[in-house]
Symmetry: C2
Subunit: 231 residues, 2 copies
């Protein structure tokens, strides 16, 4: 079992079953994001949430995985992508990643703000990218009848699901660990600059600067750090 | 708003938008089941649960709607249909409706019994047809990774959803009120005797016997009554 490693070279058993060759012209900064950040947001958020042309999509949580969902949702031609987060700096970044609208969920009327961006009935797809009960519930209260809730978050607790209110709304709830079956396609889109994966990397360090790199990532808020790349 | 009626004739506003002509050769007993029992089990259970050829399907609850799911699941060629209920008489009826296997959930090892009917990983589709938290949870513990939970039950309370265990299982949870968009197709299959809808009607009464009919339906267990038809 290998959960990760930090080294210049590493031997990976059965690597031929799971690795892709980085295409000519792809930078390390682009390639590294394809290992799981970008496919997780795309597969578990956008694909499992079945985003379709014209949809209003809400993404709750503007961390790297939520931003991946924001960025890749555009591939299916939604009409709006609403980023929802507690932090205005994160929301500003979400707008840079492709969110058409942002709502700060610390606002007491955040839910009304989201509904006002739809026809009043709610969003077509609500993507949860945090992993706590509160944000999961947020997804279920803003989804429209017939819509989809796509849970990307890794949860440590069970959640209260209001089936008494939701059963009649014909919603669908998906969840999961990334399959990475779309890696080949995503590699192509990133190489062709259709997906600006490099945006995730805010800081780069050499291997000798690894302690500094950890310090920056450990205080991500102060440094406005998203992903820190070590060469 | 009309929630229902008891009369020989009734005027239905805008009926032309929602009624179907009963086909030549269809009996009242067959036709009446198509108003919502059969489509509910089919659409909310089988279709929303995305039953596919070869699947192992479990249906929790062997009331009329659960039995509809049992009966119509066969349309998609599953390998097994497991009926799960607390009552052996209901389970015997489920077998008559097409269940290939039955499990009494009062048995302490009911879950092991279900898993033993799969490859040990769980069922492909778990259909909940009761509407209480316990049976919803049952569906989530017997579904395999990558499988679907289809909730048909009308719930009066919220449920505890173990997202901390389920998030990594890539399951899908659907729910809903019947759309009735499959009525035309079901009418055809029932008329052609591909679906034995008449099995649901265990007792028939004339309009003059309505009090007796209510008494039988009110003590359904004693009379082994499923659906009571008043002509």
């Amino acid at each position: 079992m290998i959960d990760g490693t930090q080294a210049e070279y590493v031997r990976v058993p059965f690597a031929e079953n799971s690795v892709y060759k980085v295409p000519e012209g792809m930078t390390d900064a682009e390639g590294i994001l394809l290992s799981d950040v970008l496919p997780t947001g795309f597969e578990m958020g956008v694909q499992y949430g079945r985003v379709a042309p014209g949809d209003v999509v809400a993404v709750i949580g503007s961390g790297p995985v939520g931003l991946s969902a924001v960025m890749t949702a555009r591939l299916y031609g939604p009409s709006k992508i609403i980023a929802i987060d507690l932090d205005n700096a994160r929301l500003a970044r979400a707008a840079d990643f492709g969110a058409t609208d942002t709502v700060n969920s610390a606002d007491p009327d955040w839910q009304d703000q989201v509904l006002a961006l739809t026809d009043g009935l709610g969003v077509d797809v609500a993507i949860e990218a945090v992993g706590v009960p509160e944000t999961f519930t947020m997804a279920t209260v803003i989804v429209r009848p017939g819509g989809n809730v796509a849970n990307i978050g890794v949860h440590g607790k069970s959640v209260d699901l209001a089936l008494n209110e939701l059963w009649i709304k014909n919603i669908d709830i998906s969840m999961g660990l990334v399959n990475t079956n779309t890696l080949g396609m995503l590699l192509k889109l990133v190489t062709e600059h259709k997906l600006p994966a490099e945006k995730f990397v805010t800081h780069e360090f050499s291997f000798e600067q690894i302690l500094e790199a950890y310090d920056v990532f450990g205080h991500a808020g102060e440094h406005d750090a998203l992903k820190v790349l070590i060469h």
